[in-house]
């Protein structure tokens, strides 16, 4: 397990996503309206890159025609539209058998990033900026 600095926060503005390749894994990192989330990048179904997916709320319905937003954030696979819980990676359509891995992702101030367990391959860390840090 390690912590990886992915990018500067301003490079991942709200509504955007990016794919990062770390320790042989493809990971999709999302900024969902200011909240960060990270999932394995490949859909377990047919291998679509989830970093291209849309994040929207989960819609439920008690009866036909009674559409109801739940507020729960879901990722829609960019190919077949399978919905995954953005925070856990669990599939809605086949929760017992299908799941993508979810990873911890946080914002950390540049100050202090040059010390401790962080892996920084690419970036010159500036203390006055915030960074996206992924734990894997």
């Amino acid at each position: 397990m390690g912590k990886h600095v992915i990018c500067r926060l301003e490079e991942l503005p709200p509504g955007s996503s990016r794919r990062v390749d770390i320790e042989g894994r493809e990971i999709a990192v999302f900024n969902d309206e200011g909240r960060l989330a990270a999932l394995g990048n490949r859909c377990p179904h047919e291998g679509a890159e989830l970093c291209h997916g849309l994040i929207r709320q989960f819609f439920a319905a008690e009866g036909a025609g009674e559409y109801e937003g739940t507020g729960k954030r879901m990722l829609r696979c960019p190919w077949h539209g399978w919905e995954f819980d953005l925070s856990t990676g669990q599939s809605y359509v086949d929760p017992a058998r299908v799941r993508v891995r979810a990873f911890d992702v946080d914002v950390a101030p540049g100050e202090g990033l040059s010390e401790g367990p962080y892996k920084i391959d690419v970036y010159q860390i500036a203390t006055e900026e915030d960074y996206v840090v992924l734990t894997i």
Binding site: H45, F59, A60, A61, E62, G63, A64, G65, E66, Y67, E68, R76, H80, G81, W82, E83, Y92, V93, D94
Partner: protein, 362 residues
């Protein structure tokens, strides 16, 4: 290679002795003279005045060769003939009568209602009252849902009517909200729903129009059954009434696995359109969809392949024994179908039937 091994005995299994219920038996169609005593004075005037008599659907032509076994001529003309030709030799403990006629073919909603009501009264008086083994499907006017609801309520206490009959190709796709009062009333009173093969020709049987031959048209009954399942599922009828059993009659059996496989895939990607459908289609279908066994359209290769097919579909609990008497599917009606594993017989011929029809008291 199949993982299922079926040890089928070499000798035939007789239907007699199983206590079987035949879930699809066709009495002859009632003519005007049969219905007259059961019509109101207005319709007693109109039926002869407007030359309404035979009412045989071109989309279900019971007068033609495939609908008549050569060895059973006249076997469905009345109760005693039916008993002699079919009920007695098979030692049936029950038989469900399905009248698939032009009663549901009229466009005038009130005429449709009158024809359905009279047919039900004729069935009750001329058939059900005369042999305790007989049960029937209730005809209701899908073109007039309020009258359909009234008809269902009228028969609340006559439990010999065990299900409501709908055409596989009727007025509109069966799941449409227009028809919900019919299903609500059916469920409230313990009726199951029978979706029967055939068309009232409101719409062409195929997406490119009218096939030339009856053969080609009848091939399409399975496609119509599949679309009915998709409609009842998508519109939310099945999940609104999880206790409702829907019996696909005379539409084949082997099509359903392919329908399930595709609907499962569709639902995973498109469920956002129908968020009221919260369970994967195979769960809903295995719980609620049943099929009669004549015809089967079984895979070649015998009972072992049939077992593989039903494992792909769900389980053999979805099958209800039927002969489709007197329609001509060949073979010896007194013998358990060779394609079906014999060790399914007790369930398919009886137990599954009892589990499907809450109103059925044997």
């Amino acid at each position: 290679m199949s993982t299922l091994t079926i040890d089928q005995p070499k000798q035939d299994l007789r239907i007699a002795g199983l206590g079987a219920v035949d879930c699809d038996v066709h009495p002859r169609l009632p003519m005007r003279a049969d219905l007259m005593p059961y019509l109101s004075d207005y319709w007693q005037d109109m039926f002869p005045y407007r030359a309404i008599d035979r009412m045989e659907l071109v989309g279900y032509p019971v007068g033609t060769q495939p609908f008549n076994r050569p060895d059973c001529e006249g076997g469905n003309k009345d109760v005693s003939a039916l008993a002699k030709a079919h009920l007695d030799p098979l030692d049936l403990s029950g038989a469900i009568l399905n009248v698939v006629s032009g009663a549901q073919g009229f466009y005038d909603p009130y005429l449709q209602a009158a024809a359905c009501e009279a047919t039900n009264r004729w069935i009750a008086a001329e058939w059900l009252d005369r042999d305790p083994r007989l049960r029937a499907s209730l005809l209701v006017p899908f073109r007039h849902p309020e009258a359909a609801v009234e008809e269902i309520r009228r028969y609340r206490d006559d439990k010999r009517f065990v299900q409501v009959l709908a055409m596989g190709m009727g007025e509109e796709p069966l799941g449409r909200r227009t028809f919900w009062p019919i299903y609500d009333a059916a469920v409230e009173n313990g009726f199951s729903l029978c979706v029967h093969g055939g068309s009232v020709f409101r719409h062409a049987p195929t997406q490119s129009g009218w096939p030339s031959s009856l053969t080609e048209e009848m091939v399409h009954w399975s496609q119509a059954a599949a679309n009915s399942v998709a409609s009842l599922l998508s519109e939310g009828v099945l999940t609104r009434h999880p206790e409702l059993k829907v019996v696909m009659a005379e539409s084949g059996v082997s099509w359903l696995f392919a329908t399930i496989w595709r609907l499962c895939k569709e639902w995973r990607g498109i469920r956002l359109e129908v968020p009221w459908l919260k369970e994967s289609p195979e769960i809903v279908i295995e719980r609620q969809i049943r099929m009669t066994t004549a015809p089967l359209d079984a895979p070649p290769g015998g009972p072992e392949e049939m077992a593989a097919l039903m494992a792909c579909t769900g389980s053999s609990d979805q099958l209800l024994f039927a002969t489709d008497f007197p329609h001509d599917h060949g073979g010896d009606l007194g013998v358990w179908p060779k394609e079906l594993p014999q060790d399914w017989a007790a369930d398919v011929a009886r137990n599954n039937v009892i589990a499907t029809y809450p109103r059925l008291e044997l």
